[in-house]
């Protein structure tokens, strides 16, 4: 079943057109990998789905409802069904526990110690509850950001290059976590540069080049095309093969 339908989506910032007529379906319980060179519009697309930005034109349907032009109250309802992890996640100036519990707190779910502990266990950081989040390493912050997004049990997880800037060990831990989430039937949309990651995790791949989806399909079909490894603008590879 299609959970998110994107139709004719355009997004411009001033004179610069970032997305140019995106059409895309995201099936429920599947992992969609958005791949494309830097600046192709992956992050912008994720932000539009999370309702952090408004499209210039076009529609995003969530469960059949157009979510682009809602009131702020209705937007909040939809946004609460999603969890987003940014490429460079920021931590609130507070403890790890307060960071992970933030989403539950704003939903009025106060007594959530067990859920927080479970989420931290999942990301391999149990016992970190009282640590100052600002003192964590990049990899640890990324995992805390994942725990923070997971603990609210969202229908859709939006991940913006979740393993970029991570060492191999942290990247492996994050990948394993996403895999477990996918196995639990969570819908995941993830922007990535990493071919191995896409192959390992995604059920579907969409290639985004210059603000347009140029191809969609199964990873084994898409990721074997040699032209994918060459950026149409710079001639440089945009997928990393590890």
């Amino acid at each position: 079943m299609v959970l998110i339908e994107i139709r004719g989506l355009f997004k411009s910032f001033g004179l610069s057109e970032i997305l140019r007529g995106i059409n895309l379906d995201v099936e429920e319980g599947r992992v969609l990998a958005l791949i494309g060179p830097t600046g192709s519009g992956k992050t912008t697309l994720l932000r539009l789905i999370d309702l952090l930005d408004k499209p210039t034109e076009g529609n995003i349907f969530f469960n059949g409802y157009d979510i682009c032009y809602l009131s702020s109250k209705e937007k909040l309802k939809i946004r609460r069904k999603m969890g987003m992890v940014f490429q460079k996640p920021v931590m609130f100036s507070a403890s790890v526990y307060e960071n992970v519990s933030y989403g539950l707190k704003v939903r009025g779910k106060g007594n959530s110690r067990l859920e927080i502990q479970r989420a931290l266990e999942e990301v391999g950081l149990s016992g970190y509850e009282s640590r100052d989040a600002a003192t964590l390493s990049g990899g640890e912050m990324q995992r805390i950001a994942l725990a923070r997004a997971m603990v609210i049990n969202p229908e859709v997880l939006l991940l913006d290059e979740p393993t970029a800037n991570l060492d191999l060990r942290s990247a492996y831990a994050v990948d394993e976590l996403i895999k477990r989430l996918a196995n639990c039937g969570r819908t995941v949309i993830m922007a990535s540069h990493n071919m191995t990651e896409c192959r390992k995790l995604a059920n579907k791949v969409a290639v985004l080049v210059d603000g347009r989806i140029t191809r969609t399909g199964k990873p084994e079909e898409i990721l074997t095309e040699p032209e994918l490894y060459v950026n149409s603008i710079s001639g440089q590879p945009f997928l990393e093969s590890i």
Binding site: D50, L52, S72, L76, R79, R80, M82, G83, M84, F86, K88, P89, V90, F92, S93, Y102, G103, V106, R107, R148, A149, I152
Partner: protein, 228 residues
Amino acid sequence: MDEISAGFIRAIQLIITLNPEVVEITVRSLSISLTSVLIASLVDIPIGGLIEFHDFRGKRALINLIQTFYSIPTVTVGLLVYLLLSRSGPLGGMGLLFSPAGMVIGQTVLITPIMIGLTISALRGVSVQIEETALSMGATNLQVIFTIMKEARVAVVATVLLGFGRALSEVGVAMMIGGNIRGYTRVLTTAISLETSMGDLDLAMALGIILISISLVVNLALNRVQGR
């Protein structure tokens, strides 16, 4: 030189022996300035938040205007508040001129631009990503504002301390609105000014040492807060 060192020693004696006049003036100074800062904090921090979190026409001009008033001469504020509180002014009927309450109003008005302006700067200093993270985690607009306020708490506390420092050390408003009435509206700065002109340097120096000590404590607190 001997006169100055002898005066300094006598000033220390006045402080150590808790001279009633010194204590009374210090307590009054602190209570008036603390009340002003409390009122200003309750009013100005939310106003700063309102300005920062809302987009409206003329916002930049308003912020520029507020920043221009950071260095407004205290006597100008004194004159403005005097006109408001004087018998023929709009608030003349309340009888607040030459009273501690009038001085509180004057000091509150004086520190308002700096409190609003620095609150705006404090909130602006919080990364946009914090706002977006809060939004993406499902926070309401109000919860996002509280989150940003919480993130900016160190800078907001510094703003309050700076406001207190400005209120405590000003002399123009205290003199013009309070009138420097002994036992009623005389505060540290106006007493120093008067005692110096009367040649009672012991008392003036004692009050000066207290004023500098309070400023030092505020400064240490500010450094401690900013160092976090």
